[in-house]
């Protein structure tokens, strides 16, 4: 019970501190994009518009007001769920983000699972081979892996499994001919709900490469942190003391070593998983995956300000949500923070 109270307290505190962060971030986003050399008014008019028409449009869009007033208006609209209309797609930004965000979330969540599994297994393996000849080789290998970022992994896996062996699909989310069920917006979930197992399997097949690319790219740093935290934990007296009480090595590792070593690993995961959302952008482009990353890059190429602002803010919220989730987990696992 007391644990729930402390976690609730943390959640409230974190959400409260997230609000000023989001306000500042939105202001920064607004300002950075206002210093752009492009004129949003001119862009939303046909190229043959007259100067008067542009001026009228500027007035209508509020562009001749002082910057802080513009920001106030923008923020006010934001509170009412209106981020504006895309200049390029001529659609509400909210609905554009709403239709692409679930795909990105699915990708990110599965990739996190992959990264966790690979990271923990690899970390345990690295720890297991400590002091042996294999250690140096494994350590070297982990640095090799560390040098391949997710976007190189994406291309690499695409070349091997998509182009050379042609065993896995690498464009989009579904092969042509499959119909997309829409219930929640999450494709995997929706195809299961509607009972379309072939669609589900096809979608899953499409996710293997992007998720592997993201997950594998993230795992080496987790491996290395877990390994070094385990090594640190094993320097501590309580491990030696557990040995002197005659506990088995296996029990010491699981109950005493891992339980302590998981804490630093977890705090790294908080940061890394936040950054993973940035990684999805590249992976989405490479695999033509219809998520927020593709939307964002399209917007950037077309200088589509409302989308850039909206998507930027969404990424920021995603990072904050993940860090709050990880912090709560950390709190559950670390009694030093939980009870005083």
């Amino acid at each position: 019970m007391r644990m729930f109270a402390t976690i609730a307290k943390l959640l409230v505190k974190r959400v409260l501190t997230a609000i000023p962060i989001l306000l500042i971030v939105s202001a920064l986003l607004f300002c950075i994009l206002r210093i752009l050399p492009v004129d949003p008014a001119a862009m939303s008019l046909p190229p043959n518009a007259t100067v008067q028409e542009v001026e009228a449009m500027r007035a209508e869009m509020g562009l001749n007001l002082p910057l802080y007033q513009q920001y106030g208006i923008w923020l006010n609209k934001l509170f009412h769920g209106d981020i504006g209309r895309s200049i390029h797609f001529r659609q509400d930004v909210t609905s554009l983000i709403g239709s692409t965000l679930p795909a990105t979330i699915e990708l990110a969540v599965i990739a996190m699972g992959v990264a966790t599994v690979f990271g923990l297994a690899g970390g345990l393996f690295l720890f297991y081979v400590r002091g042996t000849r294999a250690e140096a080789a494994m350590d070297f290998l982990s640095i090799l892996l560390l040098s391949l970022p997710e976007f190189l992994w994406s291309l690499f896996l695409l070349l091997i499994f998509g182009v050379f062996f042609e065993v896995l699909p690498f464009t989009g989310r579904l092969s042509p001919g499959f119909e997309r069920p829409v219930v929640t917006g999450f494709l995997l979930l929706d195809s299961l709900i509607t009972g379309k197992i072939p669609t589900f399997l096809n979608a899953l097949e499409h996710m293997i490469l992007p998720c592997l690319a993201l997950g594998i790219a993230l795992s080496p740093s987790l491996m290395r942190v877990l390994r070094s935290s385990l090594l640190d934990a094993y320097q501590d007296d309580y491990i030696q003391q557990a040995r002197l009480r005659g506990l088995s090595e296996k029990r010491i590792l699981i109950r005493h070593g891992l339980k302590n070593a998981i804490l630093p690993t977890l705090s790294l995961m908080g940061v890394q998983f936040g950054f993973l959302f940035g990684g999805t952008l590249l992976v989405e482009i490479i695999y033509s995956y219809p998520g927020m990353g593709n939307l964002m890059v399209d917007a950037i190429r077309n200088a589509d300000l409302p989308i850039i602002q909206g998507a930027g803010l969404t990424y920021c919220i995603a990072v904050l949500v993940i860090s709050i989730v990880v912090d709560s987990l950390y709190l559950i696992l670390n009694p030093k923070l939980r009870v005083r």
Binding site: R243, L244, R245, K259, P335, K336
Partner: protein
């Protein structure tokens, strides 16, 4: 008193040798260790750091550091050799028949598990009686070690408990299986003196209850002689002397034992001088080449024959053996006469603190209210010209915080400090500059006090680098050479880095830096704690010598009462941020008024082995924990 030897020993070592592998060579860590320990007896293992005393515990568990191995001999537990025993069999004995108590109680328990979870894990492993619930059993074991509120304790995490409580829990765990052998490796070093006394008494009590044989490892000969039946003094990996505790302590046969005893200041009776053992124990590399007695280079009684062959352990009394060929000369070793008390030049008060208070607050944040904790509470003190004033107290008593106020590292929240007639309470730029001419500080931990990336010569003359004092490189080198000479380091030390010095040498450098600008007042915070007795004696001697030369006064902070008694003219006793007693050292120690001072004094093991040590009784009037 003869120890019956007919009994079957629970642990016996025969010609035990442990070596460490460094590169391609191997070095002797323990050499020809022979002893046997009967059930129900306590063997005290005494020696300075590097003597190899902790290696014995590690050899018993066979969890030796990397590169260490037993190269010769046997170590038998109940007749079975622990070294050659199958690992699984040995692991079975650990925790059940052989138990350990660690040096650092706080880190000996897993921080993410509750005391209950760890207790349960251990109790289930050693096995419960039929129908017995682990919780009831745990509470029973807690009761046996006098831990109150056992049920609540089970829910606690280690970080919520004090060091003394953690050590009690570890003792409860160790004795839960009624072990036949217990190894206690410096179990009280990390604890405050008053707690230390209680823990030692508790181990003795539990040992008596179960008839457990105990190996009690300590650097403190006085403490070992109080608790042990038999004592073995180790020097550089080899036993120097072994014998019944009382006999060994009252009439040591080996010169090293005698020197060790005389290097430690006494707590009762008239003050005597300290015997200064020169230099330090030979390192592993030197030992390997050494032909004669290991102690010969430092021994006051050494003759040429000592450097030729290693002396055997010879009988010198019932059950008493020593590795020395001139044991009859050992009683001739006497401490030098006590330096005559220095005449205090004038009574003009140098430093004066009035109602000094320091409250520490939590980290700055615009939202949270900063909570305050009074580390120093309304303390009055004076320090006269040439005077040495000791401040004693346990951890958390505020003595270090007081030091920081005096030197100006912190600004008092309340009260007044005057220095040589000027009010320096405000601690602004000009006060700091003024204070700098008069006061310098010697820090506690030489590891942290010396910048590892500076050379010694640059550290000791650091003051010359400060603004307004710029001097040329030549002058600095000369000053460094002078300072090194004064503190007894070779001139070539100036070019070395701190990591190339021993603990005692680092502390000398630490003192030299403070002396560079010839301050009138030194503030020394626990500068001899954690050092070996022989090194401690060297440093105390150095401080007195320097006082004679430069005539500074000193605030000497320490938890060690015998050191304060040796060095200081007056003493302040601090408890929870307040001064509870204040007076001439001799008066306070002979006739303590405050119950806390009494319990502090009672916690020190007496100099005379025949005096009853009753720390717990004296404490009854003042609850510490």
């Amino acid at each position: 008193m003869a120890i019956p030897s007919a009994n079957n020993p629970i642990l016996s070592a025969k010609n035990l040798c442990v070596e460490s592998l460094g590169g391609k060579e191997s070095f002797p860590v323990l050499t020809d260790l022979n002893f046997s320990l009967e059930p129900g007896k306590i063997l005290g293992l005494v020696g300075e750091s590097g003597a190899g005393k902790s290696m014995i515990g590690r050899t018993i568990s066979q969890y030796l550091p990397n590169g260490f191995s037993v190269t010769k001999g046997t170590l038998a537990f109940d007749g079975e050799d622990l070294v050659t025993m199958a690992a699984e069999r040995r692991r079975n004995l650990l925790g059940r028949d052989i138990a350990f108590i660690p040096q650092e109680p706080l880190s000996g328990l897993n921080p993410v598990l509750t005391v209950g979870q760890q207790m349960k894990e251990h109790l289930l492993r050693i096995g419960l009686a039929a129908g017995e619930n682990w919780r009831e059993r745990a509470l029973k074991e807690f009761e046996a070690v006098h831990l109150p509120h056992g049920a609540a304790l089970l829910e606690k995490y280690p970080h919520q408990l004090s060091g003394g409580m953690c050590q009690r829990i570890l003792i409860a765990m160790a004795f839960a299986s009624r072990p036949r052998l217990l190894i206690a490796d410096e179990p009280t070093t990390a604890l405050d003196v008053t707690i230390q006394a209680r823990i030692v008494k508790l181990i003795a009590e539990m040992q008596k209850r179960d008839g457990t044989a105990v190996i009690f490892i300590t650097h403190d000969l006085r403490l070992a002689s109080q608790i042990s039946d038999e004592i073995m003094v180790l020097y550089a990996g080899r036993p120097a002397e072994r014998g019944p505790a009382k006999q060994l302590f009252s009439a040591p046969a080996h010169p090293y034992t005698r020197c060790l005893q005389l290097a430690n200041p006494n707590i009762s009776g008239p003050r005597r001088g300290l015997f200064i053992l020169p230099e330090r124990m030979p390192g592993l590399r030197v030992l390997k080449e050494l032909k004669g007695c290991r102690f010969a280079s430092r021994c006051p009684n050494a003759i040429e024959a000592c450097t030729e062959t290693e002396p055997p352990l010879a009988d010198i009394g019932p059950n008493h053996i020593a590795a020395c060929i001139r044991t009859e000369k050992t009683p001739d070793i006497v401490p030098p006469p006590l330096a005559p008390g220095r005449e205090i030049a004038s009574t003009r008060i140098h430093l004066n603190g009035e109602k000094l208070t320091k409250a520490y607050t939590t980290a700055w944040s615009p939202f949270a209210k900063r909570s305050a904790f009074k580390a120093v509470n309304s303390v009055d003190f004076t320090l006269g010209e040439g005077e040495f004033v000791g401040i004693v107290g346990e951890s958390g008593s505020g003595k270090s915080s007081l030091a920081r106020l005096v030197v100006g590292l912190d600004t008092p929240t309340d009260g007044r400090i005057t220095l040589a007639g000027r009010d320096v309470t405000a601690n602004g730029r000009s006060e700091k500059a003024y204070r700098r001419q008069y006061i310098q500080m010697v820090f506690q931990d030489p590891q942290s006090a010396l910048n590892p990336r500076r050379r010694i010569g640059s550290i000791v003359t650091q003051a010359n680098e400060a603004s307004g004092l710029h001097t040329g490189a030549r002058e600095r080198m000369d000053r460094a050479a002078e300072l090194l000479k004064e503190i007894g380091l070779p001139p070539d030390a100036a070019m070395r880095f701190p990591s190339q010095l021993s603990g005692g040498q680092k502390q000398r450098v630490n003192i030299a830096r403070a002396l560079c600008t010839l301050p009138r007042i030194l503030v020394a915070d626990e500068i001899v704690s954690g050092l070996d007795v022989s090194v401690q004696a060297q440093l105390l001697d150095l401080l007195l010598k320097l006082r004679d030369e430069h005539g500074f006064s000193m605030l000497f902070i320490s938890h060690d009462l015998s050191v304060v008694r040796y060095l200081c003219d007056r003493v302040l006793v601090m408890y929870r941020g307040e001064v509870v007693e204040n007076g001439e050292t001799e008066t306070v120690f002979a006739d303590p008024r405050h119950p806390y001072t009494r319990s502090l004094l009672a916690a020190v093991p007496p100099d005379d082995v025949n005096t009853e040590w009753s720390p717990v009784a004296a404490e009854a009037g003042y609850q510490i924990e």
